[in-house]
Amino acid sequence: MTDSTSSVSHLDLDESKKTFLDANELILNMGPQHPATHGVLRVILRLDGEKVLGLECVIGYLHRGVEKIAEHRTYTMFNPYVDRMDYVAAVSNGLGYCEAVEKLLNIEAPPRADYIRVILTELNRLASHQLWLGTHALDIGAMTPLFYTFRDREEILKIFERYCGARLTTHAFRIGGCQYETYEGFEKDVKKFVAFVAPKIDEYEELLTTNRIWVERTKNVGTISAKDCIAYGVTGPVLRASGVKWDIRKAQPYAAYGKFDFEVPTGQNGDTYDRYLVRMAEMRQSLRIIQQAIDGIPEGPIMAKVSKVMKPPVGEIYHSIEAPKGELGYFIVSDGSTQPYRVRVRPPSFVNLQALDLMCRGQLVADVIAVIGTLDIVLGEVDR
């Protein structure tokens, strides 16, 4: 994995001019303009016929320097920027950042704010998983699930829109709590949504889980062992599908997660099919959490006392949350001024993408597409 294109030269791209039979190896350039690379990922494949001998990702086509921008913004002003990293799960990004700064400032959000945060974050996890399912299925050739998932994702986006006025890059939370009180009928909407979407998840599973072609395309494809997962720092559903029961919501509970009863679904084989099953199960667990949260949401203030000008004490902090794609961490260094000295983001997509080479070796070209889909990467987050 490399950020620069300069190291590509050792692959000797001139070889691609040879025909299939001259050399045992063929270099195929997939992307950045390719329908199945989920944005602008460029993958250079080293092939033996259709078998992948190795691959190299070239990233940075969507680099916007988010971390650098943070050094010239106040803590409050930087908050909306994090939404633009993983734009599919903007709420999770905001939650991680707000909680990190709160930890640095040594304040705590009030319980009602925590509950609202949990509800919105879990809704966003659902939305992210639905988008993943739709595009993943489309990559493997099933067209229809995409439209089903987008239909249901729309309901989540509607709730977001009513809550904070934005659908995608929500900027839902503020440092110290939430800016907005829930709108009238929020609880009703969320309850209605939970009842609405539970049978829809069954519907997706009906289309895919026992579909022979789907099973053949995903079973034993892109297998990664628990040991390799840990060695590569892979987190999220990919890690859990390999059998490691690691979920930060359980391991280091943040927000109000400690109060809810939910399970961490795991797989055994660590292949694409298991990752699919794990994510489907996670969607159901998210619904469980939302149901408990909406039933037990307390009354009270939604904002802690935060001064207008934030000047955290000198120090550094690392805080991570369980984003839909894995562990999303923020490392913030404060020099005592109003602006952070350094912000470093640990994006789950970037770290998970490292494992692509390992997962694709020995597989076929068509599997590379399936594996890119199952890693659930968002290039905005990889490149930042």
């Binding site: 067209m143 089903y148 579909n211 068509a366």
Partner: protein, 434 residues
């Protein structure tokens, strides 16, 4: 009228114009069939988009004409007016001729498709062999298109496509042969390869071959039904055109009119292979139960079906017209939809005329069966993910091919069971009395 026109219209002639040797009527049939197929492809285009859209909770084309009915025409105009790009370094002649070869191969198949006992351009005594052979020429066009484009993705797409078509042709041929074996179960003991002869054999044996020697006919039909989807490169076997892997396969570099020729060829090929399946296993032009429910009363009852279909279509259209929003903005669309309904109704009325309704029977049932197959094609596309290439080959060579060989052998054994029994009896008798 000159005799070369009238002579074929003699009431005593019950053969196709090709067999009778009437070039004029053969030409008329050729024009009608080719025009009809092109029109069917245009309709298929609209129907596929609408049906797929409704399966996927979308509306599909809605803007051009009422319910997007004029969309295919708009598309055709767009494609004709588009610039025809030939990529740098392409082999211009081969690039230019490849879509023509595909079209030529596909449309040649229609020369022997029997829409009725006399409604075919001609009937050959090697009919089914001709159909298989000519439809296999389409591979050449695909290979040429992929090679001439001078680009990676089309080349890989073409190699995949030709490998796929060549390997599924084997299973397809075995399934076809097992149906041909069934035609030989008559008094003379000789089968036939002629398309019309095969349908007549089904009539004579009082059974569609899909139900013959249950479940052997069904299995052979199943093999053919899978192989024909693979032959036409449709989902779930659409690897050569797999968007997510090869952008558009062998026709990536094509644009405008030439690209539309590929599409025309693909849809025409779907109709062609469906008509092979219908002829071989589903009784061709015959209406359901031609022997069981025979007699003038049943004939009369079934003769209303074509008109009823069109009345149903007209009814649906009128119902949609009623439901159009009553707003001046939609006035033209509403009137257009009503006009469509009126056209359907008028066609239905014409089909009720006594001279007409008897003659369109065969054609109606054949087209009805094709329509069912076309719906299945769209349904597959909306439901299945795509196979991987090695899995596709596995299905072709390790599942369908052994199944085909097994079915063929079993069909032969069952067809010759009395002879086999006699032979073994005789052999045993001799062995005992030695």
């Amino acid at each position: 009228m000159p005799s070369f026109i009238t002579s074929y219209l003699d009431k005593n002639i019950h053969v196709t114009p090709g067999q009778y040797g009437s070039p004029f009527w053969a030409l008329v049939y050729i024009l009608v069939v080719f025009g009809g197929v092109s029109l069917a492809v245009v309709c298929m285009n609209w129907l596929e988009r609408k049906i797929l859209a409704h399966m996927q909770i979308r509306l599909g084309p809605m803007r051009v004409g009422p319910h997007g009915l004029l969309q295919p025409i708009a598309d055709a105009i767009k494609l004709i007016l588009k610039e025809d790009i030939i990529p740098e370094g392409a082999d211009r002649f081969v690039f230019w001729i490849a879509p023509m070869i595909i079209l030529l191969a596909v449309f040649s198949v229609y020369t022997v498709v029997p829409f009725g006992p006399t409604h075919a351009i001609t009937d050959m005594n090697i009919g089914i062999l001709f159909m298989l052979g000519v439809s296999s020429l389409g591979v050449l066009g695909i290979v040429m298109a992929g090679w001439a484009s001078n680009s990676h993705y089309p080349l890989i797409g073409a190699l995949r496509s030709s490998a796929q078509m060549v390997s599924y042709e084997v299973a397809m041929g075995l399934a076809v042969i097992s149906a041909v074996v069934m035609t030989s179960l008559n008094a003379e003991g000789t089968g036939t390869l002629s398309m019309i002869g095969i349908v007549q054999a089904q009539y004579a044996q009082h059974v569609w071959f899909i139900f013959k020697f249950f479940p052997l006919g069904l299995i052979a039909f199943f093999i053919f039904a899978v192989a024909m989807v693979a032959e036409t490169n449709r989902a779930p076997f659409d690897l050569p055109e797999a968007e997510s892997e090869l952008t558009a396969g062998f026709h990536t570099e094509y644009s405008g009119l030439r690209w539309s020729l590929f599409m025309l060829g693909e849809y025409a090929a779907m109709i062609a292979v469906s008509s092979i399946a219908i002829t071989l296993w589903l009784g061709g032009w015959m209406r359901p139960f031609p022997n069981l429910l025979s007699g003038p009363t049943w004939d009369l009852a079934f003769s209303f079906f074509p008109a009823l279909t069109f009345f149903a279509l007209a009814g649906m259209t009128f119902y949609s017209t009623m439901r159009m929003p009553r707003h001046s903005y939609f006035r033209v669309q509403t009137i257009g939809l009503g006009a469509f309904g009126a056209v359907f109704a008028v066609i239905g009325l014409i089909l009720l005329l006594p001279g007409v309704n008897g003659r369109v029977q065969d054609i109606y049932w054949f087209i009805f069966k094709i329509a069912v197959f076309m719906y299945l094609y769209i349904w597959y596309r909306g439901t299945f993910p795509r196979y991987r290439f090695d899995q596709l080959m596995k299905v072709g060579w390790k599942i369908l091919l052994p199944m085909g060989i097994g079915v063929l052998m079993l069909t032969g054994i069952v067809a010759l069971r009395t002879e086999l029994w006699d032979f073994m009896h005789e052999a045993l008798r001799r062995l005992v009395h030695v």
